[in-house]
């Protein structure tokens, strides 16, 4: 907003005066209270934010974004919420991400496309395999579920 804009506002005759103005004010306050009551539990929740695990596929392997280890072992905590974000960096080859033990699977992705897999990790520790369905012999890795924090 420019200085010019402020001057125009200041010079303008108030249009929301009188009884109509008061009613509008009450309505706005009510909307604000309702809105806050919905949003506050989310913003001040004591639960940890959903953890993001960013994976890319390239040269027929999964990598953590920026990582150099093919098909890395991924450690999750029992009971936590995580979000896998997969991006395909293999042009011309369609990949996906599946965790068959948990019956989870993304769509097949073209180059540079992304997909998200939201996972509520079970409470019991153990191991799962993550993989790319059409290239599972080369593109598979281990998910280790360890006891929660």
């Amino acid at each position: 907003m420019s200085a010019m804009h402020y001057r125009q506002q200041a010079g303008r005759t108030p249009r929301w005066g009188g009884a109509g103005g008061a009613a509008a004010g009450v309505l706005l306050a009510a909307v604000a209270v309702v809105g806050l009551s919905i949003l506050l539990p989310l913003t001040v929740s004591t639960r940890a934010a959903v953890r993001e695990i960013r994976l890319v596929t390239r040269d027929m392997a999964f990598y953590l974004e920026g990582g150099t280890v093919p098909n890395p072992t991924i450690r999750l905590h029992a009971g936590e919420e995580v979000r896998f974000i997969l991006r395909n960096l293999d042009p011309g080859i369609a990949h996906n991400l599946a965790i068959e033990g948990w019956e989870l699977e993304t769509a097949y992705l073209d180059a540079d496309a992304s997909a998200t897999l939201r996972v509520h990790v079970p409470e019991q520790p153990g191991r799962q395999t993550y993989l790319c369905v059409p290239h599972r012999e080369m593109m598979h890795g281990v998910i280790e579920v360890v006891a929660g924090d």
């Binding site: 040269d59 027929m60 392997a61 150099t68 093919p70 293999d90 042009p91 011309g92 080859i93 059409p134 290239h135 599972r136 012999e137 080369m138």
Partner: protein, 362 residues
């Protein structure tokens, strides 16, 4: 060349070729306009007018560029045994271990995978590939080395690895029983011999489809170190073609897959330095292919199995699977064209340039 081909009226045929070229040209021009890289859109569109296209003689190939993000024909020329990859990534696909008898154990991870590849600007081909590239990775050993090649089929059809060279019948990858089904693996083991320039390709049926879809590569076996070839700038060229409309005839030709690539990115060589070309013909559907180099001659070592050149020429003819090592030294700086001497192939992409740099060799 099929009987079907002979029945087609030549006039009709040439027009369909032209129509196809026009389509490809339009595609790449549209791409150029979208990128708005150079020239006004109106200027680009002027070029598309039919009369202009018929006389685009100076363009010498397609307009626009192919992405080299995952396959760079310039890099392919001088890459073998995955030498272009950083050590950590290379170790996924290649390991060498010296043996006590002075030879080397060479272990490879080769996989088949379906991939859509760009063979001319904006022209994509649904290929079957070894390790995601066409031609497949160049495999190179010294005679007597032990080869251990793990093949994983991650493609959608049965495939094999069939090497040319000495090996036991069980390692031939050719009979129906040798087929490696999707999701399965096979370990090929043999000693690399004889020394020379060889090749490998898929031998699953129907063979012509499996080869033309892109399942082939060069296999170089060097002579023993005590008689090794003189040092040279070494270049691998696989002559290939692509049947983009599946009529058992090629619409696009190239050396190393990308039509006319080396016209736009000439192969840089040094005046006075020995240049050695490893040329393998894997063109399907056409009976022969050839290589002609302008302005100079080269020494020919057919199949590379002798260290003595059999002829000096400027044009060689190769049937499918035939190969030759060519050696020459550039005498003058400047650009030297090379291409298949079937003019049709040349104009459909099998044409390139050497750019010799340095002072005239006297």
């Amino acid at each position: 060349m099929t009987q079907m081909r002979n029945r087609v009226d030549p006039q009709t045929r040439s027009w369909s070729r032209r129509a196809w070229l026009r389509l490809a040209g339009l595609g790449s021009l549209t791409g150029g306009v979208a990128l708005a890289s150079q020239g006004s859109a109106a200027g680009q569109l002027d070029v598309v007018s039919a009369s202009a296209l018929d006389h685009l003689g100076n363009a010498m190939g397609p307009v626009g560029r192919v992405s080299t993000e995952f396959f760079d024909p310039t890099r392919f020329l001088r890459t073998w045994n995955f030498s272009d990859l950083p050590a950590e990534e290379r170790a996924r696909f290649y390991r060498e271990t010296p043996k006590s008898d002075g030879t080397t154990l060479r272990e490879y991870q080769i996989f088949a995978v379906d991939r859509e590849i760009e063979i001319a600007p904006g022209v994509f081909f649904p290929a079957w590939t070894y390790n995601g590239q066409v031609p497949g990775p160049t495999i190179r050993a010294t005679v007597g080395d032990h080869m251990r090649i793990t093949f994983v089929n991650q493609g959608s059809h049965p495939h094999t690895l069939h090497f040319h060279g000495w090996h036991p019948p069980g390692m031939d990858g050719s009979l129906p029983a040798h087929q490696v089904m999707p999701g399965e693996s096979f370990l090929y083991e043999f000693d690399a011999e004889p020394f020379g320039l060889h090749l490998y390709h898929c031998h699953a049926n129907p063979l012509k489809r499996h080869i033309h879809k892109g399942l082939y590569g060069a296999f170089i076996v060097d002579p023993p170190s005590d008689v090794s070839r003189p040092p040279a700038d070494e270049l691998v060229m696989v002559l290939n073609g692509f049947d983009t409309n599946f009529d058992a005839d090629n619409e696009v030709y190239a050396a190393n897959t990308v039509a006319s690539f080396y016209m736009q990115e000439p192969i840089r060589v040094q005046v006075g330095q020995l240049v050695r070309m490893y040329v393998v013909n894997l063109t399907e559907f056409d009976l022969i292919n050839s290589l002609h180099l302008h302005g100079m001659f080269f020494d020919v070592f057919r199949t590379g199995t002798s260290l003595t050149s059999s002829e000096s020429t400027d044009t060689i003819m190769l049937c499918q699977g035939e190969r030759a090592i060519l050696e020459t030294t550039f005498r003058y700086p400047g650009d030297f064209m090379f291409h298949g001497h079937q003019s049709e192939f040349a104009e459909l992409g099998w044409m390139g340039l050497f750019r010799a740099e340095g002072n005239r060799d006297t």
